[in-house]
Symmetry: C2
Subunit: 341 residues, 2 copies
């Protein structure tokens, strides 16, 4: 917490295809001084998310692109170390878009301003980036507001051992669904079934994963909580029941594709034939509804209904490589960087 | 109405690619005799619909495939000419799956049994295949139950001069939306804007149709009533506002594609980024809700709020060629065959 310089990762160039660390440039600057109405935050943890790749693209998405030469956008938590605003008192923990850097300047006037984390929150600070943060909220609203599981229905979750999928599956279990996860390693699959209570987990690297998936869904699929896209999504669509719902939460397998590729599922026509409802989810839309959802999540967490796991990479310097690892599926649970130094 | 034989079109082979008349075989049989509990219907009008092509495929869809050697499935209206059941009295008009033939045997025990048309219905019989039939109901439920237009929103309708699109657009106008149609000829476009009150209509054969479409939607697109798919759907998706709705009603441009083609919109990712809601619509799901919708439709029709137009091809013998014409977009409004002979 005593760094006397500000390490920052700047977007040097836009990635073509998959993310590579070289598109980010590490620079070292002086620790900035907060101006009027501003506060200085010492960052503690950085959240790595598949959507980081989307933000690097030139075309606007649900947020403006990160400008070239600007610090890489990232969600993080930190502690206020200097303040010229009553909105952020020194010592307070804050969470929000703090960027890939040691220090962030924040202001209560920012449209997407960081929020103050209650000091008595009875969970580790990292949980505010996981189960109580955008990952957990994405799982909550995606599953409950779009998927709307009914008792006994079958929910399939891709990237099920990731920060969103692992929470979505546990909520689906709370709601009485049959939950089938798709993940990238047998270790992850074992965690899902043995620790988190998933009814089945399929390793997508097994040669016969499609057959395993079909066998794990003897009554078809009612909800696809889709985090991966591509051939995994195609396989799930092919198992879906009439009037099933697709929570289109992410397509991590497709973000590195160039714009001339077709990232759509080739069996798109099944949406018509099976009368599926497919809805895109960007969690920003639900921010005003976070508090009651976070309370429920906290309750589940404390009662052991939801378990949380993180993969924490040490040192901000390793963040670019950690993002590569995220896209390679090397994390189990939420992928974080402890800023360090 | 005096035919003494039963002309029938049998599915001889499954089409590969676009429909060609040769996949149907015309046979002439004796007029069948109704058994116990059955009635004999003399068919009067046959409805031609893009979904006919789907029914010819080998893979099951929302209905079982038409079996090879079986009469081609089709929606029609006819008149009961002999009956062994109190469910269908002689002289009654009936509508339903009567097939591509002069005469149909029907039974009150059929799962999808034809329904009796009220004798005092104050519209032409053909309207029961159009605005009061599956076409009109598809427009009604698709627009109102999936699209849910709000006053001032922009609705884009592809195949807008077809049997479904022309009704959907007029309902959207009743609900106060800005309505933009996409159609295949300038004649159709003129009909849409001058007769039906569409705010704009774009001819997709114009070289700059994309620019025209964008210009016609200065506030973006809130609802895509999608009947065409392919590049037209892609162009509309690219104009959609955040939280827009896509009524996936049909993809007539894609039904002739072989299964290895990718019929999905290449900009599928916009569903995520723009948080669109996309829902497949098969009108069978709404059959139990038809009566009140038909009453509203009748009311609009009688008050001149909805205008109906049909393209009627004479003689069952011409039905295969008329289906080709439907796929070529040669019809304006509902495509029908008057059985004749």
């Amino acid at each position: 917490m005593s760094a006397t310089v500000n390490r920052r990762f700047i977007l040097r160039e836009r990635p073509v295809g998959d993310f590579a660390p070289g598109v980010l440039q590490r620079v070292v600057e002086a620790v900035p001084t907060p101006g009027p109405g501003q506060a200085l935050v010492r960052n503690l943890y950085l959240s790595l998310d598949p959507t980081n790749r989307i933000w690097m693209n030139e075309e606007p998405s649900y947020l403006p692109p990160v400008a070239l030469g600007e610090v890489m956008r990232g969600i993080g938590v930190g502690q206020v170390v200097a303040s010229n605003t009553s909105a952020y008192r020194v010592g307070a923990k804050v969470g929000g878009l703090l960027g890939w850097q040691d220090y962030a300047i924040i202001s209560a006037n920012d449209a997407l301003r960081p929020s103050v984390i209650p000091s008595l929150l009875p969970v580790p600070l990292t949980s505010t980036l996981g189960v109580l943060g955008t990952n957990g909220m994405t799982a909550y609203f995606g599953l409950l507001h779009i998927g709307k599981p009914k008792r006994g229905e079958t929910v399939v979750i891709s990237a099920a051992a990731g920060g969103v999928g692992s929470i979505a599956g546990q909520i689906a279990k709370i709601y009485g669904a049959r939950v089938v996860g798709i993940a990238g390693t047998h270790d992850k699959c074992n965690w899902l079934t043995q620790e988190l209570g998933f009814d089945a987990a399929i390793c997508r690297r097994d040669a016969n994963w499609r057959e395993q998936l079909a066998a794990a869904c003897p009554n078809g699929v009612d909800i696809d909580f889709e985090n991966v896209g591509g051939e995994i999504m195609e396989a799930v669509l092919q198992l879906m029941n009439t009037h099933g719902r697709v929570v289109l939460c992410g397509m991590i397998s497709q973000y590195g594709k160039t714009t001339t590729d077709n990232i759509a599922p080739r069996n798109f026509g099944e949406i018509l034939i099976r009368r599926l409802k497919l809805q895109g989810l960007i969690i920003l839309d639900y921010m005003h509804r976070f508090p009651p959802a976070q309370l429920r999540m906290l309750w589940w967490l404390k009662r052991g209904k939801i378990k949380e796991r993180s993969t924490i990479v040490q040192n901000l310097d390793n963040a670019p490589q950690a993002l590569v690892q995220l896209f390679n599926g090397e994390n189990i649970g939420k992928m974080l960087v402890e800023i360090g130094e």
